[in-house]
Amino acid sequence: MSALIDLFSVAAIGAGLFFFFAGTVGLLRFPDSLTRLHALSKADNLGLGLVVLGLIPRAENPLAALKLLVVWALVLLSGASTAQLIGRALRRGRK
């Protein structure tokens, strides 16, 4: 059972690493602010989400697991709203 959980964690966290990597590469290599914003939200939403997913089975109690989910939910909410706000500002030509 524990080996199975380890395998799951490695898979999920490894996938999370990939999205952080992709987000950073996008932030550095994409040509303009709007596309960079797009890259950033991948790291925010999927990168952290997959890391959290990989850690959940390792949580000591249900409350700790819930806290992990709340952390992810807060980052999702912040990331989505600020991406929207930044996108609008950029469209109006403000930067």
Binding site: L74, L77, S81, Q84, L85, R88
Partner: protein, 316 residues
Amino acid sequence: MSVLPALDVGLALLVVGVAAWTIAARNLFASVVGYVAYGLLLALVWVRLYAPDVALTEAAVGGGVTGVLLVTAGKRLDALASAEVGVPPGRALKILAGALAALVAGALAWVVLTLPSPAPSLAPAAAEAAAGPGAGLGNPITAVLISYRSFDTMLEKVVLILAVLGVWSVGADAAWGAAPAPLRKVRPDGAMILLAQFLAPVGLLIGVHIFWVGADAPGGAFQGGALLAAMGMVAMMARLAEPPRIDSRKLRLALVAGPAVFLIVGVAGLALADNLFAYPQNFAKPLILFIEAFMVLSIAVALPMLVCGPPNGSPK
């Protein structure tokens, strides 16, 4: 080399690198943003030093209050435009500044190098106090803050009030009593309103939770209060709430509540526990939580008032 030391060394190098870059940056806003990044990294460093209490403070103050303060200040200075370019300093001024910086750095280095070994420490005394009169608290840090060095802790909150007074006194005479300017001029986008409507209640809950667990686990009055302060600011940034008038009685009572209650309980200690700032052994814990609750209130009100700035506009 195993993984953990490698991680620590990497983190330390990164912190030093970001710090150096923040100082060296030519673009004002870039260095402000660099400083925010530096604060985030410091929170990680504190966790690696097994000091989650300090990490929590760094996260709440660095990420919330100072982040907003610095970004606001950076943008205002940017608007003045002289901050980045200005008149380049003359050679004499450069040499003088360099000499002063070298002097300070040299003095610090000398002090660090000549520290006696083993260093003098109050740690055993504090640990003893936390275990004895520190009373029923599972978190030794809270016990030390409220019991061992209670006078310092109270005066820290007085300093916070003095800082708020200092900010208020910068305003024009005619504006005295009025409210500070709102944190945002125009009506915000729907997305920002939604964000604040979700964040503020959740943050309120988390702030109170961190204050409450602070008795037995990492957390405490300052960390909880700073998070609540941040939530007040988020509401003001989305114009869900406006900064209060500075002559509001409620505001002023909330500001002084923490130190006042602390002082009253402390003086009552003379009669109840035969010492100033001592607590009766049997109900030290409820008493400490009682004091801390008012401290949370004062901190949660004082920090946003510092960010809001001096009163603005007409007094009536």
